[in-house]
């Protein structure tokens, strides 16, 4: 066990430094944020301003407003001595060696020996950074290169020097991994490290090829986006997102620091249109627009820039590749005749062979490079995973045919793939020509690993049950978007006796980016269109039955959501004994958005939670009003921390910062509940009845008046209010959980038959956005 990090200091309150500080605070750890003094009347103005700005930024750097309170703003002149109370100092000041040297000299005088010091530099070699520093300083020093925005980008590149103490590295890594949720990739001390080096070349290749081939930005992005599995924005869209002005900085630093014979030197060129755009402030979404923009003078018309003339014109829909080439078949894509294939090959041929040339120069193995590109640039597949799709031998043949250099690693691979599965283990091809197991860090458990080595205990069209060891079974959703349907509910019914017989506990989890998008609306719409009302009602009743069976099962059930858990995906969590959530949890009961109300037990579960919260006022209305407010507005949490505020999570539910550790943490939580486990007793409710219903409707009406709700919103929220207030129950009646389920079902069935609900469902399926009818 390494020394824990209890307090962190970040120096430099720019976008990166402030964002890093916010993520430390998100982990619940206090952080000192320092910057220079610019305003003598408020010496902490820069750091304070950074925190204030972050509280207004969307997507939010903070997971809760409480986290902001953990940042202590200060300045370098008055507060530097406070670094003695910190266990890790992160330097994130401007990329100038003289300034960093000056700061490190000052830090050397005030820091406690053994305090880790790292630089967030993206361009300066480690050896240069520690010039003139003591041996003790060098022992504690490393580079920790975060990606923007630090809360959301999971990659952390770590570079160590020959003098760096492994214990210091272990301390920083343990914190960055477990508390900050980062996946660590070890990079060598070479220019641009891994992700930016490959990423910059990739972007440059894509720009060059687009200009050379005379493509439009739409055409280019239709090829380089979704079909390649890189961010679906494509290259031009991506540059608008990250800022076009970043490009010349990266280009300059790489051309200055990379060897003259590096492949990047040959393709780096400045593009006049981009220079002009930067000069005019058209630097992307943070500026006046970039390659794409919404024209404010033409009613926010979507426009794209003409790469030849530099003039904006209306955005056009580009057709892009078709057939297998559009669906991830990279061989088909690069083999496509004409511009599509030429453009794809122009990018992929150069990028993939460059990646292969960087081992062992910049990274130890293919896994490091693939992780870096997936987690630092949001590529769906890493370069070597893409090479496996094409076939290393195919790639070599084409490079040779074009007289291009072929990296040794590609020759070494020959007909072999970079990844294979052997004896239930995923392996990668090493530089020694042999395959090695991919070793997960201790405490990391992925369902994909378990699936390679075993068969499911149960499987249906949209769910499966797995043995994840130690007497714990895992229920996995497997449908598109992990949507929920009758098959899931049926499998839950089958799983319960099986888990009861052969296991100690159940975890509801999947490896997906999103836990569940909720009920399968496509299926529901089909049923609605053929007026199969009894089928719909069966689905509602079946879901209620399955979820309540989970709730009252004689073993602990732990939900382990990450990403979106919406509608029915939220309701299953409400029925678990406990939750272990990934910190990035976006959960809510969003049924009203499609003209429905929660129908799988969510209404009663939410009332019970709010009612039982110790801080709630007494009486029949406060809990009901809170649930009404949250559900009628389809409120979705923006983090697990916020999900606690909204009561979708209970106060003692766990939060895991590192996505890869979620299943292991959930498993541990489930096992901790096993001893002496007793299923909960069914709740009884005292609800306000018609009076409360009238009160909620009045609140909704004032929303309507203010223009915040539509006519049909009134109908839907009236239905919700009816359920939440207990229907015709009187204040003195006791309403059972079964009564609540019946109210839910009846109200759901009334709404689902309404053409306005059907219109909402259709619109959601077509556009992914709610219809405001």
């Amino acid at each position: 066990m390494t020394d824990p990090i209890r307090k962190v200091c970040v120096i430099g309150a720019g976008v990166m430094g402030a964002g890093i500080a916010a993520q430390v605070a998100n982990a619940g750890v206090p952080v000192l944020l320092l910057d220079i003094v610019r305003d003598p009347t408020n010496r902490n103005a820069i750091a304070e301003g950074a925190v204030a700005k972050m509280l207004k930024t969307d997507p939010a750097p903070f997971m809760s407003t409480k986290a902001a309170g953990l940042i202590e703003p200060g300045n370098i002149e008055d507060d530097l001595a406070k670094v003695a109370t910190c266990d890790w100092i992160i330097e994130a000041v401007v990329e100038r060696l003289d300034i960093k040297h000056d700061l490190f000299a000052k830090l050397e005088a005030v820091r406690r020996p053994g305090t880790a010091i790292s630089s967030n530099t993206s361009t300066i070699p480690l050896d240069r950074l520690v010039e003139r520093r003591s041996d003790a300083f060098k022992r504690d020093f490393l580079i920790t290169h975060f990606f923007n925005p630090p809360r959301y980008m999971r990659l952390l590149e770590i570079v160590t020097g020959s003098a760096t103490d492994p214990a210091i590295v272990a301390k920083v890594e343990a914190f960055a991994d477990r508390a900050m949720g980062k996946t660590i990739v070890h990079a060598k001390d070479t220019p641009g490290f891994i992700a930016n080096r490959i990423g910059t070349l990739w972007i440059q290749l894509a720009l060059n090829a687009a200009f050379d081939l005379g493509l439009t930005v739409e055409e280019a992005d239709a090829i380089a986006g979704k079909p390649m599995g890189v961010p679906k924005t494509g290259i031009f869209g991506l540059m608008d997102l990250v800022g076009i002005d970043l490009m010349p900085h990266l280009q300059k630093s790489l051309t200055e620091t990379l060897p003259k014979d590096d492949a990047y030197q040959a393709i780096a060129r400045s593009i006049p249109l981009i220079e002009k755009m930067i000069a005019e402030g058209s630097i992307g979404r943070k500026g006046k627009g970039g390659f794409y923009r919404l024209n404010p003078d033409m009613n926010r018309r979507r426009e794209a820039i003409d790469l030849a003339t530099g003039e904006y014109r209306e955005k056009e829909k580009a057709t892009g590749p078709s057939g297998p080439a559009a669906k991830g078949d990279l061989n088909a894509l690069i083999a496509t005749e004409g511009e599509v294939g030429d453009y794809a090959w122009g990018i992929l041929g150069g990028t993939l062979s460059y990646a292969a040339s960087l081992i062992p120069q910049a990274a130890d193995d293919v896994v490091a490079i693939d992780d870096a590109m997936k987690l630092g640039y949001n590529w769906k597949s890493g370069p070597f995973e893409m090479i496996d799709k094409i076939g290393a031998a195919n790639l070599v043949r084409r490079l040779e045919a074009e007289g291009k250099p072929v990296p040794e690693l590609l020759k070494l691979a020959g007909d072999r793939a970079f990844y294979r599965v052997e004896n239930g283990k995923r392996q990668y091809l090493g530089l020694d020509g042999a395959y090695h197991d991919i070793v997960r860090p201790e405490g990391v458990l992925r369902l994909e690993d378990i699936k390679l080595a075993s068969q499911p205990l149960l499987r249906s069209g949209s769910a499966a049950l797995w043995d994840v060891g130690d007497g714990v079974a895992t229920l996995e959703f497997t449908g598109k978007m992990n949507a929920l349907d009758g098959d899931v509910m049926k499998l839950i019914g089958q799983a319960i006796p099986l888990v009861q017989k052969s296991f100690k506990a159940l975890v509801v989890y999947n490896d997906g980016n999103n836990f569940s998008a909720g009920a399968n609306l496509g299926l529901a719409l089909f049923a609605l269109n053929i007026a199969a009302w009894s089928e719909v009602e069966k689905l509602v009743a079946g879901g209620q039955k399955a979820y309540k069976a989970l709730k009252y099962a004689p073993f602990p059930v732990v939900g382990a959501p990450a990403g979106m858990a919406l509608g029915g995906g939220c309701e299953i969590l409400l029925h678990c004994d406990a939750i272990q959530a990934h910190a990035e949890l976006y959960t809510g009961l969003v049924e009203c958005g499609v003209g429905l109300i929660p129908g799988w037990g969510g209404c009663g579960e939410m009332i019970q939670r709010w009612r039982d919260a110790p801080f709630m006022p007494k009486g029949p209305m406060p809990a009901v009003a809170k649930v009404f407010e949250t559900v009628s507005t389809a409120t979705v949490s923006k983090s697990a921390a916020q999900a606690k505020e909204l009561m979708f999570l209970r106060p003692d539910d766990g939060i895991t910062m590192n996505r890869d550790r979620l299943l292991a943490d959930a498993k541990a939580k489930a096992l901790a509940l096993v001893d002496g486990y007793q299923p909960p007793a069914p709740p009884e409710f005292r609800l306000p009845g018609e009076s409360g219903h009238v009160g909620l409707n009045m609140a909704a009406q004032s929303f309507r008046k203010r223009g915040l709700a539509t006519d049909y919103d009134m109908v839907v929220s009236d239905a919700l209010a009816g359920v939440l207030t207990g229907g015709s129950a009187d204040l003195v009646d006791t309403v059972s959980e079964q009564d609540m389920l019946k109210l839910e079902r009846d109200a759901f069935m009334l709404r689902v038959r309404d053409v306005r609900t059907i219109a909402r469902v259709e619109h959601m399926l077509e556009t992914g956005k709610p219809l405001r009818n």
């Binding site: 009486g619 219903h693 009238v694 009045m698 008046k705 223009g707």
Partner: protein, 378 residues
């Protein structure tokens, strides 16, 4: 008939609910400090106080139970002093004064503390458990939100948004000038909070501009004219006046601010509750045997600029007599505390500026008005 006089007025500083400096002060503590301050400033013998009559619009939670009694105990008043909580929403603490006057007439006491309190931070408007009667909700606007009633008044009386904003701007400027001129300091009892002593209002926005007001979005109706700038803010505050028989005041050398000449209550349609002061004031003026032209000082509660303007127009009030030191749009409107504030303020202004007659009047949710006519007691 025995005369009833106002012999003291004090209030806490007023602060925005939730974000203001009184948000963490319990309403019972707040009122107790104000009452202590009133007793010290007037020099009345606390043993002579018959009763504390305290108004509160949402008497629940920390301002629940019979909070008037609890406040008396918190303020360390003699155990012989009684306590009664009254609720007439915004008119609560003006009603407390009317009740005291009645008691004095009855011969049921000589000295009364008439107070009001509302922590809109700590007890929500509508209370924790709003449970409207469905039958009444269906047939009347009894439960209509106050913002909507202000819109209704604006429409019915054709008060434009520009007029409302000009009125609000003036209220802010008058209040700021009064504060800067030290004219509010005498009435304010500094309040001890966990963070220190709070001795100034936190609600006044001296930097309000015409442009700033014009840029605000409608607060209650997307198509409406009432904004947060032309409505009184949610406020925390407490107020108290000392009400005694004139005989007692003279016997004990109390400083008489004004004599209560007459009072009035009148109901009106709930959906235009803001017009309530018209009926109530008309009655009270008639009972006093005077006309609007006789008034030197008017305290007309500014729940909303639209209703205040409509009432001024309907009653024919002279603008330069109305809310001389600013009104609730600037100073704030802690519901239960406002009635005692405006009666105390009107009495103080009569004394300060030397007029003959004053009127204090306000509208009340649910459709009522309440009014008090004061006369100078030479």
């Amino acid at each position: 008939m025995r005369n009833t006089v106002i012999t003291g007025y004090a209030r806490s500083p007023f602060h925005f609910a939730t974000k203001g400096e009184l948000a963490r002060v319990r309403p019972d503590d707040l009122a107790a400090q104000v009452i202590r301050g009133l007793i010290e400033r007037t020099g009345v013998d606390a043993g002579d106080i018959e009763d504390i009559i305290l108004g509160c619009a949402f008497p629940e939670g920390e301002q629940g139970l019979n909070v008037a009694r609890l406040i008396g105990l918190l303020a360390d008043l003699p155990l012989s002093v009684g306590g009664m909580t009254v609720n007439r929403f915004c008119g609560s603490s003006m009603s407390a004064i009317h009740i005291a006057m009645g008691q004095i007439q009855l011969g049921a006491g000589e000295v009364f503390v008439c107070a009001g309190v509302e922590s809109m931070s700590r007890v929500p408007m509508m209370g924790y458990n709003p449970l409207p009667n469905p039958a009444l909700a269906a047939k009347s606007a009894a439960y209509m939100g106050m913002g909507e009633t202000a819109e209704n008044v604006a429409t019915k009386y054709q008060i434009t948004r520009t007029e409302q904003e000009a009125f609000a701007l003036e209220s802010q400027h008058k209040a700021a000038a009064a504060r800067d001129g030290g004219k509010l300091a005498d009435e304010i009892v500094p309040i001890q909070t966990k963070k220190g002593l709070v001795s100034e209002d936190g609600t006044i926005r001296a930097d309000t501009t015409t442009e700033g007001l014009a840029a605000l979005k409608p607060a209650f109706d997307a198509q409406g004219s009432v904004t947060a700038g032309t409505a009184s803010p949610l406020t925390d505050g407490a107020s108290a006046v000392l009400v005694t028989s004139e005989d007692y005041a003279r016997e004990h050398g109390l400083h008489i601010l004004a004599r209560i000449k007459s009072v009035g209550i009148a109901g009106c349609a709930p959906e235009i509750m803001g017009i309530g002061p018209v009926g109530a004031s008309t009655k009270a003026l008639e009972r006093a045997g005077i006309s609007v032209g006789d008034l030197n000082v008017v305290e007309l509660n500014e729940a909303f600029a639209s209703q205040a303007l409509a009432c001024m127009r309907d009653l024919g009030l002279k603008p330069d007599t109305v809310n001389i030191d600013g009104g609730a749009i600037a100073i704030g409107h802690p519901l239960g505390a406002t009635g005692a504030r405006i009666v105390g303020k009107a009495a103080s202004l009569l004394k300060r500026d030397g007029g003959k007659y004053a009127l204090a009047t306000q509208c009340i949710g649910g459709g009522q008005g309440i009014a008090t006519v004061l006369e100078a007691a030479e």
